[in-house]
Symmetry: C2
Subunit: 558 residues, 2 copies
């Protein structure tokens, strides 16, 4: 009988592997489904770990419970899901021809036969060059990483922390140490702003400011070249400077765990993650791969990308179960959606950034919008900053990034669907949304951003808030009272309220103006009127609101 | 020169008309754009009126301000937008052949010449049969309706209020009178649950419960046949009963204002609103119509619907401006998206309801999901109840409704985009979303609802929470401790925890079971296992959570 039972062995007991195992056990109840997991404690919602550290999630155990309050341990998976999990067993060798997997636990060894092998080996934190294995130099990735960190914090031994890398996890860690534990936190980032792999500078600067306001010292353009650790402290070396702390957290990104794949002869892709086709098949027959160890194609750029996200892992697990069970299914190219909460600032993005687009030779243009997320008169309306990228020829939207205290992820979720369908600016302009004053303005900010982009294609050009300098000829079109209350500094400022502009264009000829107002709407209108009078002008995208949110307002006064 | 200037006259100074006027003035600065508006105070965000009444918006003036705090009056539109608004002028007659509009103000009259006439005449509250014009019988529609209501409330003269019609406005009014003013409020609704035109019974019942918990007495299936008013009170007659109050608010729905259209010979559609094509042209050349006075085609049902929504009005205004200016544009069929906040419960929907589908001969099936809106372990995760409707053959999703304290409108906004593109259950199942624990679970509830529907197509059938009775054979598969803590009442209950089910199916043969658990996931799994053992069963869609949210839990004990 053992020969006739189809056996699927899955290496890795996180979201992807377990989702695949449970669904497969449902679809093929006669099959033998085994999950090999190197850790004793598994099926932990890893994305929640920083929030345990920050205290926002009070009990780490919560990360292991179902919605009904049941702990997801081996017994749960056996009884409720019909899946055998071998926890604490390491997959140590594989024979792809003979269909055998060698696993080890302490001194013991076993060999498992498989008809299909699923690699769900996950990812691990990238390390700095020469990074020592030392208790004062850590990353936060697994459940086991939590206890030593929280113990040190509780004993008050950690008062100064250095976080290397303003990645999503790096920002979450910086917040956790500063907010809950009151530690003095310095965050070093090699790029020009936090989250450089995920959002462009204008949006990253808003996250940087939220970190600074939360008490984190953010140092950008600061590449950590080395880290050293001793008995009393650890230190990072940045250029000629050495910065010491009691703890250095490394959060420069994730890398796929591919050792077993390589041993099986499975091919990697250009991202150094496992390459799979749209059926999640690797280069070796009957070996499949899912989750944080694989690369996926991105629809917008048509290139493979490495995006280790729990949401993809879940979908891949389900899709592969369908495929192994003989159902028609495929894993489609992804849009690429990611999100972060850092203090009271939300940051999220879908599609490609300007930098990625440039790398791939994709010409894009941008607009910026400083909006409110609900009706203007709704007392709880909050700020929302949108950066929208599109291809000038096709007018196809290729990326949307948002930040602010407002409802950021709603707009990014909506944008993700539109990007999936290849929507143009016109499609964004006519999107329908659930409108009522407590939820949204009558025109959704995404639609307004598309209008601004369509206006830009008509010649009403925006300048990025990142490119503002006091060297430009500035035209302030706010009402006199507004300008008096919050004046623009700098030597080259002219002040003419929008309503007076038609009669006073003669004063402005001979210069090329950067027109400025609070949110961008009035200055865009001014550009249109100036253009009609033959005067060249652009306006400040996102207005002074964006400059203030990014901490760049003083640039106008320099 | 007057002959050579193209003249556009727009009747109605609300969202649609003003948006059209302003954009047209931008696109065609040489044209003469005139808006005729019967009220002195105009460009008021009408959707905000109930929130002024409820005190959530402190100052009614806020409804007239731009994002920059400027009042939108005639001077604003003239100076900032290049649009002439004739406020306080009533459009009293029209000659469609001679292209003339007669307008009146007090005793004065004028005739305006137009090359294009835009009807943006809006909507007004429907009246009950024989409804008297009386200060004690009112509706809330315009800015002018506010003052007498709030004055009466401030003087404490209004302690008992009857609201007729659990429409969106009716629910908002009930909340306003009960929450801010502490009035004793009774809400009479002819349908089986509130919002019957917008959501099905299962979702409407959740809104009803939120109203009841806020202190509003909700009486459904109660058709108000007559209303009478006297010096001291007003009363409604429902069947054999008469209910008196100091104020009766009528909120049974809106109707389009079409008198001027009829005088111009413009054709109405089956909804009795103005019929327009996708260019927003009426049946009469050079007469166009936008906003709450028109009907629009609904993409899902392919039929014209009357959906007076501020969001559509804004888009129509912009689209018509583009068309009049000679640009390629069209107003596409709508999905139909609507939203409501009532106390701390959010309700929203996209696409068609089951009732509308039945009216149109569209076969649909449903699933129900009781989810949390964020990661289960996130402390601020809140309940979200999703009702998803799809066509069994094509698996196309035709409607999504949601209610609860959780982030309802995000899911409806996402669903609206997917419905627009004709998405199937498979498309919903693989949707991408901005995942991080503070924002969403790793699998979005919309994707989970699609999974449930796909399972249903595999034979795992859900029963609507609206159809639960204690006459069914109930199988409770919760853990023993859960069942002991919150036992199911009723005579026909069997209790077998899911984990024990495989060994105990013999006990269950010979009956057809309704399997019950807290949220539906475990009972769906039980149905699968019972089916494998040859036992017929369905499960309770949305589980006991839905029953409790809808106030139906006691039905199991009857």
């Amino acid at each position: 009988m053992s020969k006739s039972v189809h056996s699927v062995v899955i290496v890795g007991g996180s979201a992807a592997g377990l989702r695949c195992a449970c669904r497969l056990a449902r679809l093929q109840p006669g099959w033998k489904i085994t999950v090999v997991e190197k850790r004793e404690i598994f099926s932990v919602a890893g994305c929640g770990l920083p929030y345990v550290l920050s205290g926002e999630v009070a009990d780490a155990e919560a990360l292991r419970l179902t919605a009904d309050g049941v702990r997801r341990d081996a017994q749960y998976f056996r009884e409720m899901k019909g899946v055998e999990v071998l926890a604490g067993w390491l997959a140590s060798g594989v024979d792809a021809q003979a269909h055998k997997l060698r696993i080890a636990r302490g001194g013991a060894e076993k060999v498992l036969d498989w008809d299909d092998l699923v690699l769900a080996t996950g990812a691990r934190p990238q390390r700095l060059p020469g990074q020592p294995d030392h208790p004062r130099v850590r990353s936060l990735h697994s459940f086991d990483d939590l206890a030593p960190l929280t113990a040190g914090l509780r004993r008050g031994e950690i008062e100064r922390v250095i976080v290397v890398g303003a990645s999503f996890v790096g920002c979450e860690l910086a917040e956790a140490f500063a907010a809950l534990w009151g530690a003095e936190v310095r965050l070093f980032e090699a790029g020009l702003a936090p989250l450089a792999d995920n959002v462009d500078l204008e949006v990253g600067a808003i996250a940087a400011r939220a970190l600074e306001e939360g008490g984190v010292k953010v140092q950008t353009g600061a590449k950590v070249e080395r880290v050293r650790a001793g008995a009393d402290d650890a230190a990072v070396i940045v250029g000629a400077e050495t910065h010491a702390a009691q703890l250095v957290m490394v959060a420069i990104g994730m890398e796929p765990v591919v050792e077993l794949a390589l041993r099986a002869g499975v091919a990697l892709g250009p991202t150094r993650a496992i390459s799979v086709d749209d059926r999640l098949a690797t280069s070796v027959p009957h070996i499949w791969a899912i989750g944080d160890c694989i690369q996926v194609p991105q629809g917008v750029s048509e290139r493979p990308v490495y995006l280790p996200l729990g949401s993809h892992a879940n979908r891949q697990g389900r899709t592969l179960a369908n495929i192994l069970a003989g159902r028609a299914d495929r894993f489609e190219p992804v849009v690429g959606v990611r999100a972060l909460k850092v203090f009271d600032c939300h940051v999220a993005a879908a599609g490609v950034t300007r930098r990625v687009a440039a790398d791939r030779g994709l010409p894009v243009r941008s607009v910026w919008l400083a909006a409110r997320d609900r009706a203007d008169y709704w007392p709880e309306a909050k700020e929302l900053f949108l950066h929208l990228l599109y291809q000038p020829g096709t007018r196809r939207v290729v990326g949307v990034q948002a930040a602010g205290q407002g409802d950021v992820t709603k707009r990014i979720d909506v944008a993700a669907q539109l990007l999936h369908y290849g929507a143009t600016l016109e499609d964004f302009a006519r999107l329908e949304h659930a409108y009522a004053p407590p939820f949204a303005p009558a025109l959704d900010p995404l639609a307004v951003a598309a209008h601004i982009a369509l206006n830009q294609e008509d010649g009403i050009e925006a300048l990025s808030p990142a490119h503002v300098t006091s060297k430009l000829d500035l035209l302030d079109v706010r009402r006199a009272a507004e300008s008096a209350e919050r004046p623009l500094g700098g030597p080259k400022v002219r002040q003419i309220p929008l309503g007076e502009l038609p009669g006073r264009t003669a004063e402005l000829s001979g210069h090329e103006w950067l027109v400025v107002c609070e949110r961008g709407a009035r200055s865009a209108e001014a550009v249109r009127r100036l253009a009609a009078a033959g005067i060249k002008a652009r306006y400040l995208g996102g207005g002074l609101h964006w400059l203030r949110a990014a901490g760049w307002a003083e640039r106008l006064a320099e």
